[in-house]
Amino acid sequence: MTTDATARPAPAPSRGRRVATWLHARPRLQLRLLLAAPLFWMVVVYIGSLAILLLNAFWTTDAFTGKVNPFDWSLSAFERIATNEVYRTIALRTVGIAALVTLTDAILAFPIAYYMARVATPRVRAALVVAILMPLWASYLVKIFAWRSIFQGNGLLSWLLAPFGLDAPGTDEIANSWIVFSYLWLPYMILPVYAGLERVPSSLLEASSDLGARAGTTFRRVVLPLVFPALVAGSIFTFSLTLGDYIVPDLVSDAKFIGNVIYDNSTLGNVPVAAAYSLVPIVIMVIYLLVARRLGAFESL
């Protein structure tokens, strides 16, 4: 302490300092102040709009303007979805493709994730993580656009297939959306599976082979059960992202998905039908998330 400091009278505490001291004695109030804004946003803005969406499903639209009549209660949107075969076909098609995409990505992700986690040197591993993150973040639309130019009649695929006397698939095939979805969401599967494989202790694999298990048996009985939660964690993304996409089916195929029905109905002035139909992916994903949590996937996220 310098003499200088003691010579002067202590300055009156500033306003900020008084507030700080007052707050310091009230940790619960601090917590409330910290949580107020984020909770307001997520609960009022986000959960609130999900609630309003649900209400919209029970309202009617004006026949002429297409505008929603709020608080005019009706079950007509649900009736329309329940009685029209098309809505069921589209829901089943979407879930089927989402499951197929998830399976494809799990199969494609495993070798590269395994190579990264257990074969590659640390430097190669770090480089591979970056090499997988870059296409994950590279523009979503650009990647779809690229696939469109690959599939189109005079595109890359037609050039590759021509020597075999085959034609390009064009931009109408539903198989295109399977390929493009699998492509788009593959990094979302690779990264959690890689993290899961990295956590598998080498000693377990050595013990398995010392006890006489062949590579295939070790993989099936030791590696797969340990990595399963990570696979489920990755599948949440591959499944949910496919379930909620309406751009890919529109641009590379002519088959409608759940997202297309929701988007088309909302823009063509039938918000109640769009709202009612959006309960399909919501319910599916809530069940999926609950099952995933039971399987321990959330610890692998």
């Binding site: 070798p111 639309l141 130019s149 080498s202 949910s240 996409d245 959006s278």
Partner: protein, 267 residues
Amino acid sequence: MVESGWVRIGLRAATGVILGFLYLPLVVVLIHAFNESPFNEWPPTGFTLRWFGEAMANSAIPPAFVNSVLAALGATAVALVLGTLAAMAVQRFSFFGRDSISFLLVLPIALPGVVTGIALSATYQTVGIPFGLLTIIIGHATFCVVIAYNNVIARLRRLPRSPEEASADLGADTWITFRRITMPGMRTALLSGGLLAFALSFDEVIVTLFTAGAGTQTIPLYVLGVMQRPTQLPVINVLAIVLVLFSVVPVYIAQRISGAEAAGARV
């Protein structure tokens, strides 16, 4: 190592093939930007820089670009503030429902994008909020919060509390300690979280289509519009390079700043 030589060779080959698959479309777009053919023909019919000139002269692109940047900046700012507040609450206090906070924050990403889009769009119409840049920012901020939150909370977990306690013991009040100790510790996490949020918002189209309304264009909305009426395909190839750079460069910087887990925050 348990893996036999053949298994390792097989894994290496598979890794190469999958990396090729991941990069093939990006390379194709890059080549088409210089392809003379206006229909994205393969093999390319010749080399040209014409499409770059046409993209520069296109009068629809600059306003869309400005909107994209403004939307991304707004969403990033909101996401950083909300994500940091939530991360500090979860990391430093124990309270009822603490485990639900991260679930609540990840919900806009875990639920299908079309659901977030239609929910916000129906709400804007019901409440009577006019569509525009503000409605886009609200939508983007909602799913960007979790990215900022993940980055900040990962950093707070690693930061020791002792410098803050020392600061308080030496007479600094909460604000000074936050400004001089906590904030510098979080700075790079905020920067990388902000870059990732910016990249995610700049590129977003599924929620944006629902929340933009008719009058507001962003770069992804413009690109989508042209893709549906294919009259200017080559210009999209040029824009594609811009879009890829605007998402990949921030992510690469974020990755260099805070390591692998940062950019994995989207996952």
